[in-house]
C-alpha cells in the first residue's frame, strides 16, 4: 500500500493526541483538579491541537473535503464513519473536562466522570482507527488481531511520552503516568515484534492462478494500460524486504532509546523532552512500514504471483 504522508501524519499525530487526552482524563479522575491552570491549558491545547492537525490532514486527503460531514452518516456499517463520529464526540467532552479540570468552572465533582468519559471516547476513537485497517480482508498484514492493540498501545506510548515531557517542562510530578507510559512502551515493543513475526510467517496462499482462474502456469503477459494507473499507485507499492528489515531495526532502536530516556527522566526529568521527540520519529517509521509492508490482493492481477 502506498504510504501517503497525509494518512501517516493523521494517524501518528492524532494517535499521540488521543493518547495524551486519555491520560489527562484518567489523571484528572485520579488526582482531581489540576494544581496549575497553565499546565492544564497547555496540555489540553497540545492534545486537541495534535488531534485537529491529524483530522485536518486526513480531511485534506479527501477528493471532496467540503463533503466530509457526510462521513458521519454510515456508522452502522463503516468503521471510518464510526471513527468520524467518535472523533467529533470527543471534542465537546474534552472541552467540558478541560473547563472543570483546569478550574475555570469550579465543579470538582464533575472532573471524575468527565475525565473518564473523555478518556473512553479518546480510546474508542483510536480503536475505530485500528478497526478500519484490521477489517480489510484484502490486506493480510492488517487483517489480524494485533492491528488494533498496536494502534491503542502506540497512542498510549506516544501520548505518555508527551505527558512526561510536559510534566518535566512544568516541573510537575508525572505520578502514575510514568509507569503507565513505560508499560505501554513495553507492550508496544512486544506486540510489534510479534506482528512482524506473524506477517513474515503468514502463508501467501492467494495466487495469480486463483485470481485469474487460469491455473498454476499463468503469468502476466500484458498490462491493461499505457502508464501506471490508480490501482497500481495506491495498492501496488511494496517496500523491498531488505529496506523493511533495516527500518524495523531502526524502529526497535528508537523505541529502546525512548525507554532509556524515560527511565533517565525519573532521575533527571529533562530527559523526557527528547523522549517525546524520538517517539514521534519512531511512530513515523512504524506507520510508514505499516503501509509499505502491506500487500494488497489486487496486485495478483498486476503480475504479483502470490499475496
Amino acid at each position: 500500500m502506498n504510504p501517503a504522508y497525509s494518512v501517516i501524519l493523521f494517524t501518528t499525530a492524532s494517535g499521540a493526541g488521543y493518547g495524551l487526552l486519555a491520560l489527562l482524563g484518567l489523571m484528572g479522575t485520579r488526582a482531581g483538579q489540576s494544581t496549575s491552570l497553565l499546565f492544564a491549558a497547555v496540555a489540553l491545547v497540545l492534545a486537541l491541537g495534535l488531534i485537529t492537525v491529524g483530522l485536518l490532514s486526513s480531511t485534506l486527503h479527501l477528493g471532496r473535503p467540503e463533503r466530509a460531514w457526510r462521513a458521519l452518516s454510515q456508522w452502522k456499517t463503516s468503521w471510518l464513519s464510526r471513527e468520524g463520529v467518535a472523533a467529533v464526540a470527543t471534542y465537546p467532552m474534552a472541552v467540558a473536562f478541560g473547563l472543570v479540570w483546569s478550574g475555570i468552572i469550579p465543579k470538582p465533582e464533575a472532573i471524575g466522570p468527565l475525565g473518564l468519559l473523555t478518556a473512553l471516547l479518546a480510546l474508542i476513537t483510536v480503536f475505530t482507527t485500528g478497526k478500519i485497517y484490521a477489517t480489510l480482508t484484502t490486506i493480510r498484514a492488517w487483517n489480524q488481531p494485533l492491528t488494533v492493540p498496536i494502534y491503542l498501545f502506540f497512542a498510549l506510548t506516544s501520548g505518555g511520552a508527551l505527558y512526561l515531557a510536559l510534566a518535566a517542562l512544568f516541573g510537575r510530578d508525572p505520578d502514575t503516568v510514568a509507569p503507565v507510559a513505560g508499560f505501554a512502551l513495553l507492550m508496544l515493543g512486544v506486540l510489534k515484534y510479534r506482528y512482524w513475526q506473524v506477517i513474515d510467517a503468514a502463508p501467501r496462499d492467494r495466487t495469480m492462478a486463483n485470481a485469474t482462474g487460469l491455473g498454476a502456469n499463468v503469468r502476466q503477459w500484458e498490462v491493461p494500460h499505457t502508464s501506471k494507473n490508480f490501482v497500481q499507485r495506491e495498492m501496488g507499492f511494496v517496500v523491498a524486504r531488505r529496506h523493511a528489515r533495516r527500518l524495523r531495526g531502526l524502529f526497535f532502536i528508537l523505541l529502546t532509546v525512548v525507554g532509556l530516556l524515560e527511565l533517565a527522566a525519573s532521575a533527571i526529568p529533562a530527559f523526557a523532552v527528547p523522549a517525546a521527540l524520538v517517539i514521534m520519529v519512531a511512530a513515523w517509521v512504524e506507520r510508514w512500514l505499516f503501509f509499505a509492508e502491506a500487500e494488497h490482493v489486487v496486485t495478483l492481477f498486476y503480475g504479483n504471483p502470490q499475496a
Partner: protein, 250 residues
Amino acid sequence: MTALPESTAKKLGLVIDLDTCVGCQACATSCKEWNTQGYSAPLTDLDPRGANPDGPWLNRIHGYEIEPDSSHDSRVVHFPRSCLHCETPACVTVCPTGASYKRAEDGIVLINPDTCIGCKLCSWACPYGAREYDVDQGVMKKCTLCVDRIYNEHLAPEDRQPACVKACPTGARHFGDLGDPDSAVSQLVAERGGFDLLPEMGYKPTNKYLPPRTKRNTPQMGVEALPHGDGSAMDRLFKLADRLLSGTGN
C-alpha cells in the same frame, strides 16, 4: 445506504468468455465513450496524448500467458476485468458516506457521484481493483453496468445492454440475470463451467468467467524430404510443366 440488501430481486451481471476474447479493447473504449457522458461522467483523461496518460477506466483488459507444459502449448488469454457486482461487496459497507450502495432491485453496485467524498477506502476494500479514483473530479468511479442504458426507453430494445457487451465483436461478453437459473447467461455458465474470481475472499461476485477451452496440441509437422525425380518421361514432363507454370522460364 451502505447496509447491503438481504437479497436482490435480480442479479444482473456479465459473463465473460476467456476463450473467445481477442483483446481488441473495443469493450474498454466503448465503455469509456459511453460513460464519459453517462452516469459516471466525466471519465477524466489527463495528459491523454502525452508521456503519462492517466485517468479512470471502468474496464481494463489484462493479458496473461499460460506457459506450456506436457499437456498443452503456451497460450495467451485476454482478460477483461471490471466490477463484478458482488453479492457481499465490502466496498459498499466500508463507505462512510452512503455514496456506495447495492441496489435491491437488480444487485448493481453504484457510487453516487454527488455524495462521494473521495476517501478511496472502497478501493482498498475491493480485491478486484474495480474502483478507480478520478483525480480531477475528486470522486471514485466504477462500472455501472450501464444502468443508464439497460433501462433506457429512449434506446431501441436491442441496445438496452451494457456498452461493452454491445461493442464486443466476438461475442465474448454476455449480459443477463445470473440470479435466474433459466436465463441464457446462467445456462451458459452451467454449460461452460463458469467460475468466480478469488472465491476464497467471500465477496460472492455476480460476474462469471468462462474458462478457455482446452486447446488441442498442434501436431508436430515433420519436415518431409522432397521426392527426388526418377528421371522417367513422366517425371520430365512434370518438371517442364512446373517450369512453365511457375513462369521462371528456365
